[in-house]
């Protein structure tokens, strides 16, 4: 257990010891901040014009209109950012040979994978924490539902965890971070778009394929809804990816 935490801690620290972590964090906060400001002005305009509506449709709900808009956009940013965070997790270790320190230490491959996963998630949590000024502004302006905001943040963490688990698997297969990044991004993009592609299809297997994709499961996330169905989907997804990564790490002993 201590070893898992030590690995997680080192992993988290490593993001801040190199420019990568700072660039990713700043980039994320900047882009989401841009969306936030943009949607806030748009919402303001919409609310003002709705106020003049003679038929009494005047009440526009911040929770129903504004929040889904910008948390929905978070996912697009995460789709790019998570592969950048996860690409180095194994590739760098393998490339600079530091992986042998882990392999020759009395820690199992499961602990290595879990430790690194927790470290990367720790970084995502820090990044998300840096965006908390956005809900703070909303509280200052209006009365957002704390449930919706908490739910949105949790679902974004779950979505990132999913992306990072895919990225770790890809990273364990190469010593090149660029290849790890591109593979991860390609896989995530397909999974993200799959339901949309499958929508018009009539065949059953296309429909089934659509269910495998993330799209249908992330739709509700933007609204801050955490359905059990979606949570089960994501937890299973993450579990499968981490297990496959662990198998891969174990196989280093046998290659």
């Amino acid at each position: 257990m201590n070893a898992i935490l030590a690995i997680a801690r080192r992993e988290l620290d490593s993001y801040f010891a190199t420019p990568l972590g700072w660039v990713a964090l700043t980039g994320f906060v900047f882009i989401t901040g841009f969306f936030f400001t943009f949607f806030l002005f748009q919402f303001n305009q919409y609310a003002v014009s709705a106020g003049f509506d003679p038929y009494g449709g005047g009440a526009v709900d911040l929770n129903e209109v504004l929040l889904p808009m910008f948390f929905g956009n978070w996912m697009v940013v995460l789709l790019l950012m998570c592969p950048a965070i996860s690409m180095r997790i194994f590739a760098e270790d393998i490339h600079q040979r530091s992986f042998e320190l882990l392999l020759s230490s009395p820690v199992g491959s499961g602990a290595i994978v879990l430790g690194k996963f927790l470290g990367a998630m720790g970084f995502m949590a820090v990044t998300f924490a840096a965006t908390l000024y956005q809900p703070a502004v909303l509280y200052w302006l209006g009365a957002p539902d704390p449930g919706v905001i908490t739910g949105s943040y949790l679902s974004m963490l779950l979505f990132s965890a999913c992306c990072i688990s895919v990225g770790m698997l890809a990273s364990a297969f190469t010593r090149s971070q660029v290849i790890a990044f591109m593979t991860t991004f390609a896989i995530l993009l397909v999974l993200f778009l799959l339901p949309g592609l499958a929508e018009g299809a009539s065949s059953d297997w296309m429909q089934a394929l659509g269910e495998v994709g993330m799209g249908s499961h992330v739709e509700d996330f933007g609204k801050g809804l955490l359905h059990t169905r979606h949570v089960v989907y994501f937890v299973t997804f993450i579990g499968v990816c981490l297990f496959a990564t662990q198998q891969r790490v174990e196989s280093f002993r046998w290659r």
Binding site: N2, A6, R9, R10, S98, E100, L101, P106, G108, R253
Partner: protein, 314 residues
């Protein structure tokens, strides 16, 4: 302490080591010798639990490496050929990290002791990437030592270092080997083996060709190198007529090299003293023995200078 039994490892079709068996007693310092690609690193990586074996057993202190890897890894310190460093980390943090994943109770304290031990006390708060190669090698050693292992497995601990750094590491190895600690180190620098090890295991093309005490190995050959002030024409013939001498060569520097199959130093001295003997020394017989055993004798000793090996940058 270390028992290796019929160890075989294949990478696909390529057999890296085959039927390798040897053992090392507690407290012994053993050199693992062989040309590049002979299978030294593969054997050491199996011993350290980094990779598995295709067949055979390796036991450390009676515990099988492949069956109980974690128990073995707690008792073993391993320094790979390229030290496994996180370049962006601060020296002290790195060693403390190594200590905590190796299950040391007080990582920070263990790290600072290990750093003092390898003489890195002054650079403990520097970033590893900013250190010289010799220092980085020592950080690697600190990592291998931090959990006070009973066995040290060091893969070419002095490769790529300059002579001064190499001497420092060698002195360090002397200190580390004192007491009950068992050390196995691979190298292709013969001088190092002679300086540090009591016994050598010579491996060639994946197979053990000899395990012998250094003294025994060296005693097989009795070459003598001498230098005289007046090299008279008859001297070489006189030397050749000594019983046991197989041949006399004149080197480009003017010294004479006498090859013999038994102890001839006294007889050579008696003959050479008339030609004003300046210098008489035994030739590096370990090198001969090594070259003979690895089958690279006869041909020129490519890159195998006993004192100054070529740089083998990875």
């Amino acid at each position: 302490m270390i028992e290796v039994e019929a160890l075989t490892r294949r990478y696909g079709d390529f057999t890296a080591i085959q039927n390798v068996s040897f053992s090392v007693k507690r407290g012994e310092v053993v050199g693992f010798l062989g040309p590049n690609g002979a299978g030294k690193s593969t054997t050491m990586r199996i011993l350290s639990g980094c990779i598995g074996a295709t067949a055979g057993h390796a036991r450390i202190g009676g515990v099988d490496v492949l069956q109980k890897p974690n128990e073995v890894k707690r008792r073993i310190g391993y320094l790979p050929e390229v030290p496994p460093l996180y370049g962006a980390m601060v020296v002290e943090d790195y060693v403390a990290f190594a200590a905590s994943i190796k299950g040391v109770a007080k990582p920070a304290m263990a790290a600072s002791q290990a750093l003092e031990r390898v003489g890195l006390g002054d650079v403990r708060d520097r970033v590893i990437d900013h250190l010289s190669k010799g220092f980085r090698q020592r950080v690697g050693l600190a990592q291998a030592l931090v959990h006070e292992p009973e066995v040290l497995v060091l893969d070419e601990p002095t490769s790529g270092l300059d002579p001064a750094q190499r001497r420092e590491i060698r002195n360090l190895l002397h200190e580390l080997a004192a007491g009950e600690r068992t050390v196995i180190l691979s190298t292709h620098v013969l001088a190092e083996v002679e300086a540090v090890c009591e016994r050598v295991v010579i491996i060639n093309r994946g197979q053990i060709v000899s395990t012998a005490r250094i003294d025994d190995l060296a005693a097989r050959r009795h070459g003598v190198r001498l230098r005289v002030a007046q090299l008279e024409p008859g001297l070489i013939a006189q030397l050749e007529s000594i019983e046991g001498v197989c041949g006399v060569n004149r080197t480009s520097t003017g010294a004479l090299e006498v090859q013999a199959d038994r102890e001839v130093r006294a007889a050579v001295a008696r003959v050479a003293v008339h030609a004003e003997l300046l210098e008489l020394s035994p030739m590096n017989s370990l090198e001969d023995a090594y070259l003979e055993l690895t089958g690279s004798g006869g041909s020129e000793p490519a890159g195998l200078d006993a004192s100054e090996p070529e740089e083998d940058a990875p």
